[in-house]
Symmetry: C2
Subunit: 732 residues, 2 copies
């Protein structure tokens, strides 16, 4: 299909210093868990986007020196020749696709605890990080300032050597250059503190030095949070934000604008639950229209809609469409727009599962929409290419069209299995997504710092994308309103059966805290209920509600938020020290806490129920079981355990004789039906089985490439030996 | 010095199946952050203990299959030939010192979230982990049980190939075999659930199969929590604990006993704050004396006292002295006992910093007492060997004898610097340790699940060890009660000056939460104070006290605990979601919470002060600054920011002319005087400078070996390619 001329503007070239972006699509720096330690993952994840049409693609934050070490979180590093070699793999792959490679040079100061290197970070003033509470920087005197700036220069030179086209001096998310600029961090009284010019000096000098060193060969970029969102105590877009851009405009070839800081960076990487598409416009979108810069500007805001992109460029908000999460969800977004394949775009749902793994520190990134994210190298998966299955003549029955079943059937269809039937008991496909996407609202009021509790409606994209793909696959038949018994399955005529029947909430209070049901818990009663019943409105909820949340993710908190928003008196009880702990990792927690506070939810932590009686819940403090508390209630919501709906699987698998008789060669169980899990993992599980349906043992995932040193290989020992010419370092 | 015959018993051989331990010292499995991915660190950390005299030395928990993946926490893995190669490096090094190598084969079930491999863990019943809240296992049918047992067998065979002498089937800390044994996890109704024999079946069968596979060549061990410490709902030492040992005694060559589980494993790795030496005796110490086993038993309990060790063996409590933390703190503990060098033993202080890094996931282990722990390979440091410094003719002045200064002077002394002077302003060396070690008590009552708030007295060992070592070093002079001015330093006659003058608490409420002082905060007033003033009793504390804690480690909570224990009404306020968050990582948190709850501390989270007035603290909720609260108080304790005492350093360093004139060639600042930090990091900082005092630029730490794949090296790609002979896996 040819491109609609309306979108031509997105495919114009943009000059940035000595380099040319071939179009306006740009993957801004974002983490993936590869760093410089997993060069294959780094190269192939970024390279997939180059193949998908992005003109500029960056590393994650890349440390310039061991003094800026964010372990346990994974950053890239360009400390030595080994890092140059590892990051060059990424540059080479990008260049094969005529994409530019960008590197975000990073020094964290007090936000980087240096738990691997054990160095001491330096900062403009000695104030502990508000992100890593107990990490204090060493005060930088003028020697330190010079040393630090030389670190940026040395790193820039190594970056050029690795093949990078764009070199960032990274000052967003409240890292070092921003710490000098902002009076929130900078309390100096010398020429690097006080007045605007003084506070801007470190950043300006660093840009100047980096430009002097590599500016003829590389474009110089800077990432800048134009507004710290803290009001007058720090940088505001209308004041020092705009002013700083003017002040340093001569030294950059590309501005990359964001908002906020690292302590609450969900204000930048806004979850869809609270932030809509292009949500940074009121801040980062004002600089270019205000004529504060003559240089190209890239900005972000979870933009996935091509019309929004055109509006952004045409209105002069940004010159370049920046994306982190949308490029993970669909590495081929530019190509699909170019080819007019809009309905093939896998739109980011803004769940921030990708980010959660960086926050946890160590695991590779994951993506709810794109199960191949992070798997490009180690499992060799391509988001758009599917090899025909070796056993494609086999007929496949997939029972259950939730996240795992939809994904598996789609992958099998794309792998050209000749006949795939996806059978759903309910009236539509989507499974739990259909009711979960109704949650996330409270009373719709908007005064939560920024944004509002807009709900999880965008999560419905999980279903929409797969619905469209399934509709296109002529080898896949989808049937709804069809609940299969084991007898139905046996007689269906399929050779491979995949059970994806999901899970249900325990009705007896079985939970992770005590591993036991709760006496008196019974969701078959009118006044007790499970979360899905609340979401779907199938039960009447009384005025006083107790919500018991034992799982630590969004469910209990979302139910409490909804009910309190509707005017109920809600008590939210958890055995944990905080409600919804995992939402810290998805960056949803601060906004959630604001909303729960605002709608008046009474949160009781370290608390568990030991008995439910009509009208009263008996609780105890987990640190002192004798410390009791009684809550008078009209209703109880049990966000306790989930249990697999695996009866069908057990029945089928248990009758080997019948399986043989009916010619069923294999039975698999996937997703929540195997074990309840997060949606991102259900999608992965379905995808994985589809990818490996023709492997020797499809039930067991194939090995993947582990990027690690093998004993006897070199690593950087030779390099270190060279440097360490002192008597005391007896390198082994 | 010859060994006192009293300790001969510790050096007797112990036969374990086909292998012989050369003495009774045994490093039980413990984490270090190396896993199978950093083979050098793994080999050299364990190898150092072999050199130090330990007869048996184990890996950390070692995963048998990608289905048991604990990422972000680091475990060892024996999944493939690459792991065999990497772990063989450890075995080889151990064998050079005639030590036996043990491997702890581990399958985590629901406790292992599989965030790297993305597999689905399996468990006996489908109950989510109480450690990883939202991780549900897949219910194991009989095919699964067979598959799992084969995983143990395959891993055991690979272990033998790598050179391991002792192969564990690991069932402590509530991992898979224990999950079958305990009714807390096992709700099966088939022959693997219900009766004791049924619940024990999985474990017994697994031991049998592993023994059949490798039992002629390797000793078979099992680690077993003899008491889950949950009462009748799970395993109790006197009932199923003892019974299980009897039931499987024929299948093991060595029992390794512990208590508790992974969700609160501080009950096993007991911090000194709550648990005394040999604290597991009432549980794991009852099995052997109760004649429930005929096999050798190893057990732990932070035992560092040789007399306790002798008593343990002589009383029949254990046959073998197990150690994790004491072996980190002093890898040469056996050798030192053997040589009668008792005063050289670096005793573990039970601070659990080592454990904190495993809990955080990713960083290498650290040790407050032994700065070389984890640095054996990558920095080439040996805890007992010190190369003479290349510049040993230089005279060195170390100002300040806190953790950093003491350590640095000691290392310089051991490196044979000809003249080292350590000058302390106070009446004794030790710095902040002297008052911090007074904390950690409440009212001395003992009803905290187990143990009691015994205080941080053992932390004083930081000082004791260094005092003794300094006393022995004839090239180091220590002077106390001597506060040096910059003029004193200039005229001292030293060629190298090291400033280690520590830090102080802010008196104006400057803090990490707001980066600003708090209006009205003023610790120069009688009724406001800093933590050290409370610890030392230098100020009168009123009845109603508010403790503001902004740092997230032990200080604020310890002050609250102490004051409440003394009868004050204490409100503990923090901006964070939990008080003392870092104490989760040190495993101190559960016991701390019990104690704070018991002594009635009122904890206010997500709360910050915006103003202090005589008799009243004005607070706000951080999620809603308009939500105010006022606390009427008699006293306020400000556990807010710390600030380096770096004035002396700045004065000296700032006068280059005078430095040259006086022949001072270098000035360094270390420890809290450079930047406030945890004690473990101050000790490291002092040690590091001592080790590198003769490097080209001692201020900047030398590079260390980074164990990583370099692009172009093999990794396990060939191996994976071999296995992945399917059409869809297009390995790159």
């Amino acid at each position: 299909m040819a491109r609609d001329p309306k979108y031509d503007v997105l495919f114009e070239q943009v000059q940035i210093g000595p380099k040319t972006l071939k179009n306006r699509f740009y993957q801004v720096p974002h983490c993936i868990g590869a760093g410089s330690e997993k060069p294959g993952m780094q190269a192939y994840h970024r390279g997939m986007k180059a193949e998908g049409g992005w003109a500029g693609i960056c590393t994650e934050y890349c440390s310039i020196h061991p003094e800026s070490d964010d372990t346990s979180r994974v950053s890239a590093r360009i400390w030595d020749e080994g890092d140059v070699r590892n990051l060059a793999a990424m540059c080479d792959l990008l260049h094969e696709h005529r994409a530019l490679a960008g590197i975000e040079l990073w020094y964290g100061g007090p936000h980087a605890p240096c738990m691997e290197t054990r160095h001491t970070p330096r900062g403009p003033s000695q104030i502990a990080s508000d992100f890593e509470l107990n990490t204090f920087p060493r005060y930088m005197d003028k020697d330190d300032i010079e040393t630090l700036q030389q670190m940026y220069v040395d790193a820039a030179i190594r970056s050029r050597e690795a093949g990078f086209d764009i070199v960032y001096v990274y000052g967003a998310h409240a890292y070092l250059p921003f710490q000098f600029l902002s009076p929130y961090y900078n309390r100096r009284t010398d020429e690097y503190g006080g007045s605007f010019e003084n506070r801007a000096r470190f950043w300006r000098e660093s840009l100047y030095k980096v430009r002097e060193a590599v500016g003829d060969d590389c474009a110089i970029a800077s990432r800048f949070a134009v507004d710290h969102l803290m009001g007058p105590v720090s940088i505001e877009a209308k004041k020092d934000g705009a002013r700083f851009v003017e002040h340093c405009d001569d030294l950059v070839d590309l501005w990359d604008f964001t908002v906020g800081d690292i302590a609450e960076w969900g204000q930048n990487a806004g979850p869809s639950r609270f932030f809509e598409e292009n949500h940074e416009k009121p801040y980062s979108g004002t600089i270019k229209p205000g004529n504060h810069t003559n240089k190209p500007v890239v900005g972000v805001g979870r933009v996935t809609n091509p019309d929004t992109m055109v509006a952004i460029v045409r209105s002069g908000q940004f010159d370049i469409i920046g994306a982190a999460r949308p490029s993970i969800s669909d590495p081929f977004l530019p190509k699909k727009i170019e080819e007019g394949r809009f309905d093939d775009i896998r739109e980011c749902i803004g769940c921030n599962q990708c980010i959660s793994r960086w926050e946890i520190g160590g695991p590779p990134l994951v993506c709810t929409q794109n199960a191949t994210a992070g798997e490009e190298y180690r499992r060799g998966w391509h988001p758009e290419k599917f090899h025909p299955a070796g056993n494609r003549e086999k007929s496949v029955l997939v029972v259950g069209a939730g996240p795992a079943g939809m994904e598996c059937a789609m992958v099998l269809g794309k792998r050209q299995m000749e006949a795939v039937h996806l059978i759903e008991a309910g009236p539509e496909i989507g499974g739990c997504v259909n009711w979960i996407s109704l949650l996330g609202h409270s009373d719709g009021k908007a005064n939560l710092h920024r944004g509002t509790a807009r709900g999880l409606g965008e999560w419905k994209r999980i279903v929409n994308y797969r619905q469209i793909q399934l509709d296109k696959l002529r080898n896949v038949e989808v049937h709804t309103n069809s609940r299969l018994t084991s007898e139905d399955v046996f007689s269906y005529g399929a050779e491979i059966v995949i059970v994806a029947t999901g899970c249900h909430f325990a009705t007896d209070g079985l939970n992770a805290a005590t591993h036991a049901p709760i006496p008196g818990a019974d969701a078959s009663l009118d006044w007790q209920m499970t979360p899905d019943e609340v979401a779907l409105g199938t039960k009447q909820v009384g005025k006083r509600v107790l919500v018991l949340e034992n799982e630590g993710y969004f469910m209990g908190a979302s139910i409490a938020q909804k009910l309190a928003g509707e005017g109920h008196d809600v008590t939210l009880v958890t055995q944990a020290g905080e409600i919804a702990g995992y939402m810290e990792y998805t960056l949803e927690a601060p906004m959630l806490h604001r909303d729960l506070h605002r709608v008046g939810v009474d949160i009781q932590v370290y608390t568990m129920l030991d008995r439910i009686e009509p009208g009263v819940c008996h609780a105890y403090n987990i640190w002192d079981p004798d410390h009791k508390q009684a809550f008078e209630v009209d209703s109880v919501v049990l966000c306790t355990a989930r249990l697999s709906d695996d009866q069908l699987y057990r029945e089928i698998k248990g009758d080997q004789g019948r399986l043989e008789q009916e010619g069923i060669e294999a039975v698999y169980v996937i997703g929540d039906a195997a074990a309840p899990r997060m949606i991102v993992d259900s999608v992965f599980d379905g995808h994985r089985l589809g990818r490996e349906i023709d492997s020797p043992n499809p039930e067991m995932p194939l090995p993947f490439i582990r990027e690690r040193r093998l004993w006897g290989e070199t690593s950087n020992e030779d390099y270190v030996r060279q440097l360490a010419n002192t008597a005391d370092v007896a390198l082994v």
